[in-house]
């Protein structure tokens, strides 16, 4: 059984009305347990709509979305699904609700009725996992963007979730904050085996994934390992996307007759290729 199994999923907003809009069109996608999937695509291509199906914030208007075999359309399963799949959104200010960091992280398990001692343990563990234990007594509004985003991630971890869906978690952050969040995500994926679905406009971040899905107009336009996807430089550019800078430089160098391998995705790889 796959962790996430999406079959022929379509989502139409305002169905039957004048402003009907097909945001997702017959999507088929599977995500294995422990996988790191990156989703890229232009604004309005359906990335966020897709993400919201993964914990039943939205339900398919056709087709199905199953999490660990549980159908998101089955009302009795929704709460179970939401414990397995956590969400982290673009703007941390929109999802931090408490006045103290540790209370914010404890909010989810408290609502589940988890015993107090267990909550304390989970909160400490979650804050340690995102390297924020020093800040447990802080007021969230005094933290930097990257720190707030890590608190939001800890909130998901305290639910003992198996999977976290990130919807452009670094869009509002400064370079240091972006680095902190991406490192945290990589670590959770590697060390805790968390299944990650990561939506981003930063192609350099998508390179860290095992698998990349490219969305266009509600469909999956391209799918594969980062190397398979990002070597299609011209196709991605036509879609209004970019590739990592190193890949683009390598592509332009090849066009001008400099032999650089097609598999270059990072600066490091390009430096090795050019400076042997």
């Amino acid at each position: 059984m796959e962790f996430i199994q999406i079959e022929n999923l379509s989502h139409v907003y305002h169905e039957g009305q004048e402003n009907e809009y097909r945001a997702l069109d017959n999507i088929n996608l599977t995500v294995k347990k422990g996988e790191f999937l990156a989703v890229i695509g232009t604004n309005g291509s359906g990335k966020s709509t897709l993400a919201k199906h993964l914990n039943a914030l939205l339900l398919p208007t056709a087709g199905s979305c199953k999490i660990m075999g549980m159908n998101t359309a089955t009302a009795e399963e929704v709460w179970k699904i939401r414990q397995h799949v956590g969400m982290v959104f673009q703007n941390p200010d929109n999802q931090i609700i408490a006045a103290v960091v540790e209370e914010d992280v404890a909010f989810g398990p408290e609502n589940l009725g988890v015993p107090a001692a267990e909550i304390r343990f989970r909160v400490a563990e979650a804050l340690r996992a995102v390297s924020m234990e020093k800040y447990r007594k802080f007021a969230p509004h005094l933290l930097s963007g990257g720190q707030k985003q890590r608190v939001a991630i800890a909130g998901a971890l305290a639910m003992q979730t198996d999977c976290i869906v990130f919807d452009e978690p670094t869009a509002m952050l400064d370079p240091i904050g972006r680095g902190e969040v991406l490192e945290t995500v990589k670590k959770l994926h590697k060390e805790a085996g968390i299944t990650v679905v990561y939506i981003t406009h930063f192609m350099e971040e998508a390179v860290a994934a095992d698998h990349v899905v490219v969305m266009e107009k509600g469909r999956i336009a391209e799918e594969g390992t980062p190397i398979e996807v990002f070597t299609k430089v011209e196709k991605l550019k036509k879609m209004g996307l970019t590739v990592p800078l190193a890949t683009e430089v390598a592509f332009l160098l090849r066009q001008k007759g400099i032999p650089v391998p097609e598999t270059v995705l990072t600066n490091k790889e390009l430096v090795v290729a050019l400076c042997q």
């Binding site: 604004n43 930097s144 406009h201 209004g240 400076c275």
Partner: protein, 287 residues
């Protein structure tokens, strides 16, 4: 004419236990027709600084002159001077509120007391500017748009005011690469064709390097660098201190240089960078 800031200090929640000095003794001149980028990590004071320019925040100490007028005075000129400044906030889409896109964009111009005909013209022009078709979108609700489109409507609402000084706070955050490139092109056009003075707050050093004539790096409420991008991005230590990074291309060129490829590292344009790498490889072969 210019925006002139003299010895500005700003303290949040003065006299409370939460007192915090966000800006420390800042002096700065932003010349008319210039393009200035302000960069710094979260909490460095960037947004606090630009909100002083149109009187949204009032300095704890210091003075601000817009085209020679002291905007902190109570005189009627001060109000007019503040109207010369247009501000696009972070997440401008949160400012949308009207039922239709056209009405939302018309809100500002209508408040200026313009004639209906002029208002419609400004709405049309502003929508054309952000590439939203007037006939298709004018009657639609702004809340049924994608994030990128909402951003454009919000920016159109500010453009329609024809501000002489345009301040944009992180205008490209959350936009896809094409949307980002389009918007930046438009901002550059405003600067070059309409002679709008642009002040852009940004974390994105690639955008900053491509567009700005002057770059300000802020750290702990102080301006630690104020120079052209060519000079500013050579201040590696200060860039690190400010929690920033050099533009991506520059970082790549620096890495190549460390590994023995003799490239010029102060290049911001991709094509020029690629040519420089090819030249450097050529030079290396000759040796």
């Amino acid at each position: 004419m210019s925006i002139e800031v003299k010895n500005l200090t700003y303290t949040y929640m003065k006299g409370t236990p939460f007192e915090r000095t966000a800006l420390k003794d800042i002096s700065l001149t932003i010349e008319e027709n210039s393009f200035t980028a302000i960069a710094g990590h979260t909490g460095s004071g960037k947004s606090t600084l630009v909100q002083q320019f149109n009187g949204l925040l009032t300095p704890t100490m210091g003075q601000i002159f817009v085209d020679g007028v002291d905007i902190l005075s109570k005189k009627p000129e001060a109000k007019l001077a503040k109207c010369k400044i247009g501000m696009v906030f972070q997440y401008p889409e949160h400012q949308l509120f009207e039922e239709t896109i056209a009405a939302d964009i018309a809100f500002g111009p209508r408040n200026l007391g313009l004639e209906e005909e002029e208002i419609e013209k400004r709405v049309r022009d502003a929508m054309a500017f952000v590439q939203l078709d007037y006939e298709i979108y004018k009657e639609r609700s702004p809340f049924q748009l994608s994030g990128g489109q909402m951003r454009r409507v919000a920016i159109a609402g500010v453009i329609a005011l024809h501000p002489k000084y345009l301040i944009l706070d992180e205008p490209t955050a959350g936009l896809d690469p094409l949307g980002r490139a389009d918007l930046l092109k438009k901002i550059a056009e405003l600067h070059q064709c309409e002679k709008t003075t642009v002040i852009m707050v940004s974390h994105n050093m690639d955008d900053v390097a491509m567009l700005a004539q002057k770059v300000l790096f802020m750290n702990h409420g102080e301006i630690i660098v104020n120079d052209t991008p060519q000079v500013a991005f050579k201040e590696t230590e200060k860039i690190k201190q400010s929690g920033l990074e050099v533009p991506q291309l520059m970082a790549l060129l620096q890495q190549l240089r460390v590994k023995g490829l003799n490239v010029d590292t102060s290049i911001f344009k991709l094509e020029t960078g690629v040519d420089e790498i090819i030249k450097a490889i050529g030079r290396k072969r000759l040796c």
